[in-house]
Subunit: 555 residues, 2 copies
Amino acid sequence: MDAVLAKPNSVADFVDFQTAPSRYRHWKLSIENRVATLAMDVQEEAGIRPGYKLKLNSYDLGVDIELHDALQRVRFERPEVAAIVLTSAKPRVFCSGANIYMLGLSSHAWKVNFCKFTNETRNGMEDSSVHSGLKFIAACNGSTAGGGYELALACDEIALIDDRSSAVSLPEVPMLGVLPGTGGLTRLTDKRRVRRDLADVFCTTPEGVQGQRAKDWGLVDAVVKPQEFDAYVKSRALALAASSDRPSDARGVELTPLKRTIDVYGYHYRYVDVALDPQRRTATLTIRAPESAGPDSIEEILTAGAEWWPLQMSRELDDAILSLRINQLDLGLWVFKTEGDWKNILAVDAVLVARGDHWLVREVIGMMRRTFARIDVTSRSLYALVGPGTCFAGSLLELALAADRVYMLDDPQCALALSDMNLGGLEMASGLTRLNARFHCDPARMDEVRDHIGNALGPRQAAQLGLVTFTPDELDWNDEIRLAIESRLAFSPDAMTGLEANLRFGEHESMESRIFGRLSAWQNWVFVRPNAVGPAGALKVYGSGNRARFDWERV
Amino acid sequence: MDAVLAKPNSVADFVDFQTAPSRYRHWKLSIENRVATLAMDVQEEAGIRPGYKLKLNSYDLGVDIELHDALQRVRFERPEVAAIVLTSAKPRVFCSGANIYMLGLSSHAWKVNFCKFTNETRNGMEDSSVHSGLKFIAACNGSTAGGGYELALACDEIALIDDRSSAVSLPEVPMLGVLPGTGGLTRLTDKRRVRRDLADVFCTTPEGVQGQRAKDWGLVDAVVKPQEFDAYVKSRALALAASSDRPSDARGVELTPLKRTIDVYGYHYRYVDVALDPQRRTATLTIRAPESAGPDSIEEILTAGAEWWPLQMSRELDDAILSLRINQLDLGLWVFKTEGDWKNILAVDAVLVARGDHWLVREVIGMMRRTFARIDVTSRSLYALVGPGTCFAGSLLELALAADRVYMLDDPQCALALSDMNLGGLEMASGLTRLNARFHCDPARMDEVRDHIGNALGPRQAAQLGLVTFTPDELDWNDEIRLAIESRLAFSPDAMTGLEANLRFGEHESMESRIFGRLSAWQNWVFVRPNAVGPAGALKVYGSGNRARFDWERV
C-alpha cells in the first residue's frame, strides 16, 4: 500500500495508524447480540518498536492503534452493539499500563505523541458514550495498574474482581517519578469525584487499592467475587445496552481500507493531499470538496458507505494528521487549503443536520468532530489560506477556525461560507464550538454570524465578521504569506507549542481540555526533568536494580 | 532584625519579602485624595541579585516585593484611596518587563518562584478590585513590553499614550523563546477577550501594537494623545474611585514591622513558628490561636490594628510561606500544626463574618484569603497533623483543608471545628471554597457539613464527614506519621509538584487557576527546554549578538 517515504523517516520507521481486525495482534473482538467484548491479550514480542517486551498486558502505541481501530469498527460496522466490555484475556492481569521500558527508551517527542493519541482514543470512548449511545464497562478481572486503570477510568463503569489480590493502582508517581498523565489525575477528580486527599494517598501507594476500599473511595463502581464476576459484567453490559439508542437491527458500513499513496512529495488520498516541504519545514494539507452534493436519503448514504464524502474525507484527514504528527516532527507549520465547490459542502452539511438522528449520520458527525478536535491539540502552527477556488465552507470552515491565523485574498472571487454545522456538532475538546471559542461566547457576535449562514462571504464581510485574520490584496499576498510562514518557522518550537496551547483554548474548560492542558503540560515538564529521564532518573533506572537519584529541590 | 540563617542559605542570600516605603528604591507612591499613583522608577543598579542592570524599568523580584508592599500599604494604611494609577516615572517607557539578563542567569527554581510571586501580586490586584472596591488603571505613558504589559493587564483599565512610538507588546515568544507566562496569555483571552488569531499575531510581533489598532484589538481601553494623557488618566481614576465603596473618611491601620527572629532552628513570629529540619527535609509550621476572643467592636478592632490576631497571624504566615518557598527549596514537605483554644478562633471568625462590611474587616479577610491561596499553589507536599491541643477550627481549618492529607489522632481530646468562614470569604484561586473543592460541590455533602458549624468534631465524626484522611490511634500514630513523612520525601520532587498541582485544583477553574495551571505548567516546561535555556537557547544568547539555535522538532 505505501511506497517510498519522505525524509527524515525511512520506510521502516514510518508509523502507520491504519490496521484491520485481521491484523490485530493484541486485542480479541467478539460480539454477542448487543454487547461487544474487547479482550486485551498483548503479544509480548510484538512491540511497535524494538527493544522491549510487552509483558503483563502492558501497551505501546501499536496496542493503542489496534484499540482505536477496533472502536471505529464497532462504531460503524456493528451498529447493533450498544455496550463494549473492555477486559483481559490474560490470567490475573487486566492491564499493567504503558510499557515502562518503552517509555524509558523513547524520545520526548515519542512519549508526548503516544500520550496524546492514547488520550484521544479514551476521550473518543467518552465522546461515543455521550453522543452515540455506545457505553463502556471496564471488567477489571485482574491487576489494573497505571495506564490500565486510566483506560478503565475512561469507561462508564468499572468493575473490579474481588480476589484478594487484584487492585487498581496508579504507581507512576512512586515508582517512575512521572504522572498518571493519560487522563488519570484529571478523571480521578473530575469524573470519579474522588476526594483529593484520598486521591493523593491512592496515587502515592504503589500497590494500589482493592476490595471494598476501592469502592468506598469511588475508584471503582463495584467489587465482585470471582465466581460472580462474569455474570455481573454481563448484566451490567446488558443494562447499559438497554439504555442505549443504538439500533438493534441496523446494517453496518464497512470501513474499507483507505487508498493512500506515500511518496517523497507527501501523502495522497482521494479527498486529502499532504504536500511535505522539508526545506521550508511546512506541510500543506489540501482538502477537497465532494464532486457533487452526494446522497440525500439514508438509503443512498448507506449505499455510499465509507465513500460518503464526510466519512471518507475525515478518515483520510484523521490518518494524515496522525501520520504527520509522529512521522514529520520537524514540519512546524501546517498550511490548510481547500479545493472545490463550496455549495457541495453546504449540501452535505444540510444532510448531516437533517439526518443527524440516524445512527450512521450521527457516527459520521462524531468522526468529523473527533478528527477536527485532533487539530486543536496538535503541536504545530496552523495557517489557513483562503484564495480563489478554495471552499472553506461549513464543516470545512472548521479547519480555518481551528487555525492560528486565517489569510484571505482580498479578491471578489474568494468566499467563505457558514453552515449550521458551525453552530454545533463539531465542538472542540473544551466542549465549545470553534465560533463560540473565537468570539468568547459573545451572544451579539454569534447572532451576527448566525444571520449569514448559507451566504457566500467575501473578504470584506469575512473580515468584518471576524472570521479571518488578514485580507491582503493581490499585490501584497505573496510577500505577506511568505513572510508570515518564514517568521513563524524562525521561532522556538517549544514557545510556539506553549503559546498555541494557551490561545486555542480560552476561558472555557472541560475535563478533556484539562487533560490536554493542565495535566499534559505538567507531564511534559516532568518528562524532560532529570529526576525522570536523567541517567539516574526514575524512569531510566526502572527495572535495573538501581535506585533513582533525585535533585531534592522543589520547583 | 534577622539573625543567623539556617542552611542551606547564607545570611547574604536570604530573600526577605519584608520592606517599607522608606526603603523603596523602585517605586514612588503619592496620594491625592482618593487616587494613589504608583510610579515605577526602577534603579538600574539595585537588582536583588548581582549580575544584571535593571534598565528601562525592567524588574526583578526586588521590584515586585516593593510593589506588593505598596499595595498592602494602600489597602490597610490608606483606606480613603479607591483607585490606584500604575504608571512610570521614566520618560518614554512604562515598563519593559522582567529583566532578561536576570532570567538568563537564574536557576529554574528562581524563575518559577519569581513568576509565582509576580502572579500572586497581580491576582491580588484583581482580588482587591472585585472584593474591596480598590480599582486599578494602567497609565502606559511609554513603551509597555512583556511583563510590563502583563502588569497592565492585571488592571481594570489600560490607557496607552498615542505618541506614535509607544506600543504594548508581548515579545517573549519571538525574542526569548519563552511564554508571556505571568498571566499574559491567559488574561489576553480570558479577561480582555482578544480574538485568538489576533492574540496570536500580537504575541508573535516583537514590536507590538500601538494606536488605534491596540484599541480595536481590545489590547487597551483607550489610546490618548500625549497632551491629553494626564487629564484622561485622572478623569478615569476619579470615575473608578467614584464607583468604589472604599470609605473616603476612614483612618487607616499602620502595618507595623513584623517581629521575626530567624535562627538555625527556623523562623519565629508571635503567632507563627516555622521549625526547619534540613535532615528530614521538612518544615513544620505551627500557627497559634489568639489568647482571647479579642476585639468585638470596630473601634476595638481599629485600636488593635496590625495586632488584631487575624491580621497579624496572616501577615506572619504570608511572610513564612514566601520565605520558605524561595529560601528552603529542599524542604519538600510542610507539616501544619496549630496550638491554642479553638473557641477563640471561632469567636474571631464570628466577628469577621458579622463585621465583614466594614472596610478594615473586609481587608483582613482579603489578606487571609490571599495568604491561604498561596498555600494551594505552593510546590511542597502539605500534611496537617491534628492532635491534642491543636485548634484546626474555622479560619485555621483552612490549613488542613489546603493540605494534601490530614492525619487526626483517634483520641477524644482531639477536635476540629467549622465556622462560617469555611463557607465563603477564603476561596482558593479557582474561586471555590476548599470545602466545595473537597466535596466536588456535592450539595448533600455541603449540607451535612453545614449542620456541624460551631461544634467540636471528634476524630470519628471528622472522618465520617470527610474532613480528615486518616485517624490512627495512639498506638499507631508515631509510626504512621513517620512512615507517611519518610515515604513522601522519597518520591521524585517533580512528580510531586505535578501530582499536587492537579489534585488540589479539580474540575473548577478560573482565570487565576488557569494562570497557575495551564499557563505556568507550559512555561515551566519551556523554562527547562534547551531551546530556551541551553547554551544556544534564546534566553541565554539574548543580547550577546549571537542567534539562538533551535532543535526544530515540535513536541
